[in-house]
Symmetry: C2
Subunit: 192 residues, 2 copies
């Protein structure tokens, strides 16, 4: 028998780490400016590496999206957890929605990129969907327990509506417009 766990023979090569970092930085920038139509060759060029290198680091377009945006998803989840401490559960939910819209606004192209390119069966999709649904669920439950929220609203309802509203708007008015729409929706779900 060999050893149970093969520990890596070598530490990662310096060029590997350097190129990976360059690719992520370049990709975030290129997606932000070009949206979902950004070409991967453009990302590689911006990062100053060959296209082959990009594909070895991120074998699919989705893998690249995932690496670029997982951080943002995690931020949204973390914020929801922090807001569980808020006294007013409806205010907490609304704050979370507003903050999420603001976050997405700074990453113009993120959502379009995800919606256009990401297969619903992919890992990044289910990871994001599950994390966010879970985060919303806790905020929602508190509001319901306080009797301040329609009982039949699910976390999915809220997440999907929020995403949909973000998808139909673009440009400089994004944050204001989407916030307005989301508030209309939230007003209708809440009491008090």
């Amino acid at each position: 028998m060999e050893r149970k766990t093969e520990q890596p023979r070598r530490r990662p090569r310096a060029d590997y780490l350097r190129n990976r970092e360059r690719l992520l930085t370049a990709a975030a920038e290129v997606f932000r400016t070009h949206g979902g139509q950004a070409t991967l060759e453009g990302v590689a060029k911006a990062a100053g590496v060959g296209i082959g290198t990009l594909y070895r680091h991120f074998p699919t377009r989705e893998a690249l999206f995932e690496a670029v945006y997982r951080r943002e998803i995690d931020q949204m989840v973390a914020l929801a957890e922090r807001l569980e401490g808020e006294a007013d559960p409806v205010a907490a939910l609304r704050q979370w929605v507003h903050a999420s819209i603001r976050l997405i606004a700074t990453k113009q192209g993120m959502l379009t990129a995800l919606a256009l390119a990401v297969d619903k069966s992919s890992e990044i999709y289910s990871y994001s969907y599950k994390s966010l649904t879970g985060a919303i669920a806790r905020l929602l439950t508190r509001a319901k327990e306080a009797g301040r929220m329609r009982e039949d609203v699910t976390p999915e309802d809220l997440l999907l509506t929020l995403i949909g509203m973000c998808l139909v708007r673009t440009g400089p008015e994004f944050e204001d417009d989407v916030t307005r729409l989301a508030d209309l929706f939230l007003d209708g779900l809440t009491r008090g």
Copy 2:
């Protein structure tokens, strides 16, 4: 001076009309099954014409979308006009929303196709947007005049939200899911 209006010297050629019809039929089918990623070469093939013929009839991808879907937009507008006669203005609005979702459901791929491929400055976009906004405006005004609707809701709010909700769902559950979301939204806007 020549004659003011040049009347066409000849009537349209039979093959022109035939091919145009074939292209529209094929395009509707291909978009329905493949969504916005459908290739135009695929459409030409399905129609049994050369790619060059497709491009002469519809010089851009958007021109083809426009020709295929203008009818559907017009249907939604016509329905809104018919519903202006309804006694209950809130019920009328809800009926319109439900019917629109049902219509879109049968054209799976329509919305994705439009959202992915259509530039916001294009003719089909502004035509659709204006027609639909106008149609909704009249339904909305009646509901407001009856004191049954938030005063600060605009037709754009409703249209964008509806489109957004349609964008985030796909598959066999489409109609039920989207109707549910839209009802949540409408409930929150209306009184009585």
